[in-house]
């Protein structure tokens, strides 16, 4: 089980959190101008790297706030916890 450092509550067990998948995926501004392939790409295609991945997490059973983390998908090490809306690091995925 992961131990995740919630920015508002401190370190808690993964069981208290929900994972919202990959972070920094912007919704297209004009969805009706996209082809089906482009829309499907936005909806379903994720990077799935072996290495550092930016993810959204929610502390569902604690403060119920969303935040971003950077996690190494090989070692499960959590490298960074940062607020929603903050940009990803250049060195990230």
């Amino acid at each position: 089980m992961l131990r995740i450092e919630c920015p508002h509550c401190g370190a808690r067990d993964e069981a208290e959190f929900s994972c919202g998948g990959e972070a920094h995926i912007a919704r297209p501004k004009e969805p009706d101008k996209l082809s089906d392939a482009e829309w499907a790409d936005y909806l379903y295609m994720r990077t799935n790297p072996k290495g550092i991945l930016a993810e959204r997490w929610c502390h569902t059973f604690g403060c119920r706030r969303w935040f971003n983390i950077e996690r190494d998908t090989v070692s499960h090490e959590i490298l960074r916890v940062y607020a929603m809306g903050e940009p990803r690091r250049e060195s990230g995925t």
């Binding site: 508002h8 509550c9 401190g10 808690r12 069981a15 059973f61 119920r64």
Partner: protein
């Protein structure tokens, strides 16, 4: 607002009445329900000093700003739920008056983005106390409850036996208030009795 005469305990189906307050000399865990507690969910910007002072003058104590902390005493207090969210408790029956007073204070202070909700009947409070109370909780809760990490006046939203709870340590005995959703209360009570069976469980008088 619910007519108080229509209120009944979520534990009514367990028929605990006959066991309440029975002497249990071997018991090292005391379990009870606090039925009559008014609860108000308050959301506001903690950076707005004027607003925070206005709430403090109504409540008589400051809202806690640090993570996992509470202020006030056992009867009237505030539990910090998140960076801009608190649960304010008052003796049952006083929640309407406090709700109005907080709303008036927020308006007078020019507070923006303030939300008040009466959530008195969303959750009930189970009280767990006694020398082995911590051991009972540790059977189903991943939180570090050792006194160096979790002390009187601390609170945390967490999981107990897979039920979402708000845990609040109210005394050094230790004693805990467990806020649990109405529909999970009977389940959690039965779980707590089972987890505490080896230490002896006494069913306390209902407040």
């Amino acid at each position: 607002m619910v007519d108080p005469s229509l209120r009944q305990s979520p534990l009514a189906t367990l028929h605990l009445g006959g066991r309440e307050g029975q002497p249990a000399p071997e018991a090292s865990v005391h379990l009870a329900e606090r039925r009559s507690v008014g609860k108000i969910n308050l959301r506001a910007d903690p950076g707005d000093g004027v607003l925070m002072n206005a709430f403090e003058s109504v409540l008589g104590y400051p809202l806690p700003l640090d993570p996992n902390r509470t202020s006030g005493d056992g009867k009237r207090g505030a539990l910090r739920l998140g960076p801009d969210e608190w649960l304010v408790t008052v003796p049952g029956g006083q929640e309407n008056a406090l709700f109005g007073a907080l709303g008036t204070a927020a308006t007078a202070a020019g507070g923006k983005h303030v939300a008040l909700s009466d959530v008195s009947d969303a959750r009930t409070i189970l009280t767990l106390a006694g020398p082995r109370a911590r051991d009972v909780l540790q059977k189903g809760c991943g939180l570090d409850l050792h006194p160096r990490a979790f002390q009187t006046g601390h609170c945390a939203g967490t999981l107990l036996a897979r039920a979402a709870i708000l845990l609040h340590q109210t005394g050094d005995a230790p004693a805990y208030d467990i806020h649990v959703a109405w529909s999970f209360a009977a389940y959690l009570w039965v779980w707590l009795e089972d987890a505490g069976a080896e230490y002896g469980v006494a069913v306390g008088e209902v407040e």
